[in-house]
Symmetry: C2
Subunit: 114 residues, 2 copies
DNA sequence: CAAATATACATAAATAACTTATGTATTAGC
DNA sequence: GCTAATACATAAGTTATTTATGTATATTTG
């Protein structure tokens, strides 16, 4: 597990990108998928996820669709048109940021080598 | 400029790494150097930096040394032995995290391609 | 079949790392 | 002399999280 400060700020990007690639997902599924894909290195808590999903829905990035499995409800989320745009922007911004960070760290390492 | 959430959590790592490579630096110099190295994409505010420096000093990562340029004081910071260890840990953790994030984003992109 | 665990949602209080605003003082440029 | 840059510092407000708690159904295990 990474120190939590690092993960902060990337949650919306992770969620939007997962939905972009998987079409639709429900909350619990997102937490499990991220845990699985990162070998437990990134674990999204439900206390963080659900408010984020609600906020993305409110701001028009996500649509919801309820599905009943017996008596249990699953709330599926999918990207709106606007959500697709935001997803791309967020992924690009994060990629750019990480490249800048790597440059910042690598450059300094190179300087010390001569 | 990146949205501020992204930069959160990386400030200590940036500062420790800069000090590791440059030996000693003072606060204002750190803000200018980061701005310069990232073409203004990352701008560390003084309100964020000074408390961080104080906190790193308090926790034993940094030593300080005052230098007088005429009447003006500069407070130089440098890594303690423990600070070197922490700097390496933080850089490794950030690098690992960024690789995990890239995998998470790239994997999904690859999945959509077939 | 009872108990524990997993699935699945949700919210609210507390916390941490910032931003924004403000303050002081010296130095440089016009 | 005025403005901007240099150089420090702190405090209030914001925001995204963590931690804690709650509800309910479904599955596994003894």
């Amino acid at each position: 597990m990474y120190s939590s400060e690092l993960i902060k700020g990337t949650l919306k990007t992770i969620v939007l990108n997962l939905l972009k690639e998987n079409g639709k997902m429900y909350g619990y599924q997102i937490t499990q998928r991220v845990k699985e894909l990162t070998n437990g290195k990134i674990q999204i808590t439900e206390g963080a996820l659900y408010p984020t999903l609600h906020s993305l829905e409110k701001s028009g990035e996500l649509d919801t669709q309820k599905e009943y499995m017996g008596k249990r409800v699953r709330k599926y989320y999918s990207l709106t048109k606007q959500g697709h745009v935001t997803a791309n922007q967020k992924v690009n911004e994060l990629t750019d940021f990480m490249n800048t960070m790597k440059f910042l760290l690598d450059l300094e390492a190179r300087t010390s080598n001569g």
